[in-house]
Symmetry: C3
Subunit: 200 residues, 3 copies
């Protein structure tokens, strides 16, 4: 089931990548590349940092196929029918929540410390979007003000605290908290205090 | 012979990196750094993804020496004699073709699946140019419209299909197809269909 | 003692990262992320290239804690008291010198060739700042003209030449030369010759 959740998260991020590529009027190949980077970039960085190499998608090509097909389907579907922005944001929030859970769990299972699990939980779920923004010349994710990575951070912290007691409860809570915070941030524009200079 | 082809590809990419650094009026050190990133970046990422570490240039410093000398020679030569742009584009296309062949072959030799070989063949041959563009603040390669990575993709697909039957024929075909597509794209401005919104 | 030097370098780079994040008016989370990337990015890349995985901060979470606390303290302190720019540049130069020494020494200890030690000495000390600039949408380090990476290069070269004869002397000299060149570059605006086109 974790595996299907993972593929679902990958597909959702592939859609968001393809839509950014559309925004930038890239060609078909660019769409697939940006979808791949967005969906697989975070996990790739995580595996390289941990030394889990070859990285996950080299060992299981299903990921590449799912991303490529999803990206091409996104091209076809959005030519016929414009996806409402709301559904997309919700899907992206699901991806964020799922990736946070999966990465945090994976790192704890390797016997590493909770703080590392939190750090890599966040890295895995946001790095793909960061590389997407760099390659497509957008304002980097981290410079935009809405809660995003912070939602992932809260979910990951909850997981490392509760999973030693009740793994399944922790899993559900992590997804619920990350998803809830992110959706609330979208709905009500929640932000963290910015680091402004005293005189501005 | 593959080794000399590889060094040739590395030198050619080093020249293109040095010329981009010139365009941005970097200092001598910047020229060498951008040349190193362009020529070795793709292979470094490939090796890190596969877990072939230490990566290739750590095990064989000849690569670093070839790139550095090529970059410095480029500085000297272009102060005396302006290289015609046409020669450069052709050289870059050669580099693209050679790197596609070498990486795709390497991944297949490690016993990995054809789809992974294609993916890493493309990654190895285009990632260096992408990092070069990020560091030198240019419009990212992937946002420009001419066929580039797509030429590498076609070459890599041909290699994984034909090399189990006839390895040498496949090698020649891969280089010919990648090179031919890229040169045709430069000559006639070939592009893939862009992903435009219905109403634009 | 090397360990404490290392933590000092990490803390200093964390401060510079936090201040860049301030310049861009990021939120608290962004400040911590940019501080982490700046302070740990270079060493992470070095470890991934060498295959020293899991990378250093996964094996020793003290690094993450030092960076996070330093970044948050920087937020608090600079709200009360504006740090003079001069102190900061000096601290950053110290970080550069320390990282150059530590990485060059580490690579030589692994039995790798001197040229690799120099290359990774420079990569480890400047890559963090490069990724920081990419993520925070600043002009990339390498495009600015003052001596920076070149100071690290000179220090690393001195280390690989002298350390086989006298390790401790080499260590002191490396820090002194890197620091001295960088501070002189700041004070007197030292630059390397730029790679300009003949006609401009």
């Amino acid at each position: 089931m974790i595996y299907f959740l993972d593929l679902f998260g990958v597909a959702v991020f592939a859609i968001t990548g393809a839509l950014v590529a559309r925004e930038k009027q890239m060609d078909l190949f660019g769409v697939v590349v940006i979808a791949l980077v967005t969906a697989l970039g975070g996990g790739t960085l995580r595996d390289m940092i941990l030394g889990n190499t070859p990285v996950f998608w080299v060992l299981n090509p299903v990921y590449i196929i799912v991303v490529s097909i999803t990206a091409l389907l996104t091209v076809v579907v959005t030519r016929i029918y414009e996806l409402p922005r709301r559904i997309l944001s919700v899907a992206d929030a699901f991806g964020l929540a799922i990736f946070t859970l999966i990465a945090t769990d994976l790192v704890l299972n390797q016997g590493l410390q909770p703080i590392i699990a939190v750090m890599l939980g966040v890295v895995s779920s946001v790095a793909g979007g960061m590389i997407r923004d760099l390659l497509s010349d957008r304002i980097p994710l981290i410079l935009r003000s809405e809660l995003y990575a912070t939602a992932s951070l809260c979910g990951a912290v909850v997981f490392v605290v509760i999973s030693p007691i009740a793994h399944d409860v922790a899993s559900v809570l992590t997804v619920a908290i990350t998803l809830g915070l992110r959706l609330a941030a979208i709905r009500w524009g929640w932000t963290l205090p910015a680091f402004k200079m005293p005189d501005t």
